[in-house]
Assembly symmetry: C2
Homo-oligomer: 65 residues x 2
DNA sequence: CCTTTTTGTCATATATATTTGACAATTTTA
DNA sequence: TAAAATTGTCAAATATATATGACAAAAAGG
Protein backbone atom coordinates (compact mmCIF):
# COMPACT_ATOMS: atom_id res chain seq x y z
CA UNK A 1 0.00 0.00 0.00
CA UNK A 2 1.81 3.12 -1.19
CA UNK A 3 1.18 6.70 -0.06
CA UNK A 4 0.60 8.35 -3.42
CA UNK A 5 -3.08 9.03 -2.92
CA UNK A 6 -2.57 10.50 0.54
CA UNK A 7 0.04 12.96 -0.64
CA UNK A 8 -1.81 13.82 -3.83
CA UNK A 9 -4.97 14.66 -1.93
CA UNK A 10 -3.09 16.73 0.61
CA UNK A 11 -2.05 18.94 -2.29
CA UNK A 12 -5.60 19.09 -3.62
CA UNK A 13 -4.59 17.56 -6.94
CA UNK A 14 -6.83 15.36 -9.07
CA UNK A 15 -5.36 12.27 -10.69
CA UNK A 16 -5.62 14.13 -13.99
CA UNK A 17 -3.76 17.19 -12.69
CA UNK A 18 -0.98 15.10 -11.19
CA UNK A 19 -0.70 13.02 -14.34
CA UNK A 20 -0.36 16.13 -16.52
CA UNK A 21 2.22 17.62 -14.20
CA UNK A 22 4.52 14.64 -14.63
CA UNK A 23 3.53 13.73 -18.19
CA UNK A 24 1.94 10.36 -17.72
CA UNK A 25 -1.52 9.03 -18.43
CA UNK A 26 -4.17 9.41 -15.74
CA UNK A 27 -4.68 5.67 -15.75
CA UNK A 28 -1.09 5.23 -14.70
CA UNK A 29 -1.72 7.25 -11.55
CA UNK A 30 -4.92 5.39 -10.86
CA UNK A 31 -3.27 1.99 -11.20
CA UNK A 32 -0.34 2.96 -9.02
CA UNK A 33 -2.64 4.23 -6.27
CA UNK A 34 -4.38 0.87 -6.31
CA UNK A 35 -1.10 -1.08 -6.32
CA UNK A 36 -2.17 -2.62 -9.59
CA UNK A 37 1.36 -2.52 -10.85
CA UNK A 38 4.91 -1.77 -10.63
CA UNK A 39 6.01 1.73 -11.63
CA UNK A 40 9.48 2.47 -12.94
CA UNK A 41 12.08 4.23 -10.81
CA UNK A 42 11.89 7.29 -13.07
CA UNK A 43 8.17 7.50 -12.43
CA UNK A 44 8.59 7.01 -8.68
CA UNK A 45 11.08 9.87 -8.62
CA UNK A 46 8.79 12.10 -10.67
CA UNK A 47 5.97 11.39 -8.24
CA UNK A 48 8.15 12.10 -5.22
CA UNK A 49 9.28 15.40 -6.73
CA UNK A 50 5.78 16.47 -7.69
CA UNK A 51 4.39 15.56 -4.29
CA UNK A 52 7.20 17.22 -2.38
CA UNK A 53 8.37 14.04 -0.72
CA UNK A 54 10.76 11.14 -1.30
CA UNK A 55 10.94 7.52 -2.38
CA UNK A 56 10.86 5.95 1.06
CA UNK A 57 7.87 7.98 2.16
CA UNK A 58 5.82 7.09 -0.88
CA UNK A 59 6.90 3.53 -1.57
CA UNK A 60 8.88 1.88 1.18
CA UNK A 61 7.78 -1.46 2.52
CA UNK A 62 9.53 -3.77 4.95
CA UNK A 63 11.16 -6.90 3.53
CA UNK A 64 9.10 -10.10 3.68
CA UNK A 65 9.90 -12.04 6.82
CA UNK B 1 24.33 7.83 -10.30
CA UNK B 2 22.85 5.24 -7.95
CA UNK B 3 24.58 3.53 -5.03
CA UNK B 4 23.98 -0.10 -5.95
CA UNK B 5 27.57 -0.91 -6.78
CA UNK B 6 28.90 0.66 -3.60
CA UNK B 7 26.58 -1.31 -1.37
CA UNK B 8 27.02 -4.54 -3.30
CA UNK B 9 30.79 -4.37 -3.01
CA UNK B 10 30.62 -3.54 0.68
CA UNK B 11 28.90 -6.89 1.12
CA UNK B 12 31.50 -8.67 -1.03
CA UNK B 13 28.90 -9.82 -3.54
CA UNK B 14 29.52 -10.29 -7.26
CA UNK B 15 26.92 -9.10 -9.73
CA UNK B 16 26.11 -12.76 -10.32
CA UNK B 17 25.65 -13.50 -6.62
CA UNK B 18 23.41 -10.51 -6.10
CA UNK B 19 21.41 -11.32 -9.20
CA UNK B 20 20.81 -14.88 -8.03
CA UNK B 21 19.82 -13.72 -4.59
CA UNK B 22 17.00 -11.60 -5.96
CA UNK B 23 16.17 -13.71 -8.99
CA UNK B 24 17.10 -11.42 -11.82
CA UNK B 25 19.58 -11.72 -14.66
CA UNK B 26 23.14 -10.58 -14.04
CA UNK B 27 22.85 -8.18 -16.96
CA UNK B 28 20.02 -6.44 -15.16
CA UNK B 29 22.33 -5.65 -12.23
CA UNK B 30 25.09 -4.53 -14.56
CA UNK B 31 22.81 -2.18 -16.47
CA UNK B 32 21.36 -0.69 -13.32
CA UNK B 33 24.81 -0.02 -11.89
CA UNK B 34 25.65 1.88 -15.06
CA UNK B 35 22.35 3.80 -15.03
CA UNK B 36 21.59 2.29 -18.40
CA UNK B 37 17.97 1.96 -17.51
CA UNK B 38 15.07 2.35 -15.34
CA UNK B 39 14.39 -0.51 -12.91
CA UNK B 40 10.90 -1.25 -11.62
CA UNK B 41 9.88 -0.38 -8.08
CA UNK B 42 9.69 -4.09 -7.21
CA UNK B 43 13.29 -4.51 -8.30
CA UNK B 44 14.42 -1.41 -6.42
CA UNK B 45 12.82 -2.79 -3.28
CA UNK B 46 14.41 -6.21 -3.78
CA UNK B 47 17.80 -4.53 -4.15
CA UNK B 48 17.31 -2.41 -1.05
CA UNK B 49 16.32 -5.49 0.96
CA UNK B 50 19.19 -7.59 -0.30
CA UNK B 51 21.71 -4.81 0.33
CA UNK B 52 20.38 -4.00 3.78
CA UNK B 53 19.40 -0.47 2.92
CA UNK B 54 16.49 1.54 1.56
CA UNK B 55 15.13 3.23 -1.55
CA UNK B 56 16.37 6.73 -0.81
CA UNK B 57 19.88 5.56 -0.03
CA UNK B 58 20.21 3.58 -3.24
CA UNK B 59 18.26 5.70 -5.69
CA UNK B 60 17.36 9.15 -4.50
CA UNK B 61 18.24 12.13 -6.62
CA UNK B 62 17.29 15.75 -6.19
CA UNK B 63 14.67 17.16 -8.52
CA UNK B 64 15.90 19.00 -11.61
CA UNK B 65 16.15 22.72 -10.94
C1' DC C 1 52.32 -16.38 -15.50
C1' DC C 2 48.23 -19.17 -15.90
C1' DT C 3 43.53 -20.06 -14.36
C1' DT C 4 39.33 -18.60 -12.61
C1' DT C 5 36.20 -15.19 -11.61
C1' DT C 6 34.14 -11.02 -12.60
C1' DT C 7 32.60 -7.56 -15.51
C1' DG C 8 31.17 -5.11 -19.97
C1' DT C 9 28.50 -5.64 -23.78
C1' DC C 10 25.84 -7.35 -27.95
C1' DA C 11 21.79 -9.22 -30.15
C1' DT C 12 17.37 -11.44 -29.85
C1' DA C 13 13.20 -12.77 -27.42
C1' DT C 14 9.58 -12.13 -24.00
C1' DA C 15 7.00 -9.98 -20.28
C1' DT C 16 4.98 -6.11 -18.71
C1' DA C 17 4.68 -1.00 -17.94
C1' DT C 18 2.44 2.75 -20.01
C1' DT C 19 -0.61 5.03 -23.50
C1' DT C 20 -4.86 5.99 -25.79
C1' DG C 21 -9.71 6.24 -26.12
C1' DA C 22 -13.80 5.43 -24.10
C1' DC C 23 -17.69 4.90 -20.87
C1' DA C 24 -20.04 4.03 -16.39
C1' DA C 25 -20.10 5.06 -11.58
C1' DT C 26 -19.24 8.01 -8.03
C1' DT C 27 -18.44 12.32 -5.85
C1' DT C 28 -18.47 17.41 -5.76
C1' DT C 29 -20.41 21.71 -6.56
C1' DA C 30 -23.78 24.91 -8.04
C1' DT D 1 -31.32 17.60 -7.98
C1' DA D 2 -28.91 18.46 -12.00
C1' DA D 3 -24.41 19.52 -14.06
C1' DA D 4 -19.61 19.06 -13.79
C1' DA D 5 -15.69 16.94 -12.25
C1' DT D 6 -13.40 12.94 -10.62
C1' DT D 7 -12.57 8.24 -10.37
C1' DG D 8 -12.76 3.12 -11.64
C1' DT D 9 -12.10 0.21 -15.24
C1' DC D 10 -11.82 -2.13 -19.89
C1' DA D 11 -9.62 -3.39 -24.25
C1' DA D 12 -6.08 -2.70 -27.65
C1' DA D 13 -1.63 -0.75 -29.08
C1' DT D 14 3.11 0.59 -28.14
C1' DA D 15 7.33 1.27 -25.55
C1' DT D 16 10.53 -0.58 -22.71
C1' DA D 17 12.19 -3.51 -18.77
C1' DT D 18 14.04 -7.91 -18.17
C1' DA D 19 15.74 -12.62 -19.69
C1' DT D 20 18.75 -15.66 -22.28
C1' DG D 21 22.93 -17.02 -24.41
C1' DA D 22 27.25 -15.83 -25.63
C1' DC D 23 31.92 -13.90 -25.88
C1' DA D 24 35.80 -10.70 -24.99
C1' DA D 25 38.19 -7.77 -21.64
C1' DA D 26 39.65 -7.07 -17.26
C1' DA D 27 40.64 -8.24 -12.54
C1' DA D 28 41.77 -11.45 -8.83
C1' DG D 29 43.95 -15.52 -7.00
C1' DG D 30 46.90 -19.52 -7.04
Amino acid sequence: MNQVRVYRQQLGLSQTALAQQINVARQTINLIEHDKYNPSLALCLALAWALGTDLNTLFWQAPPA
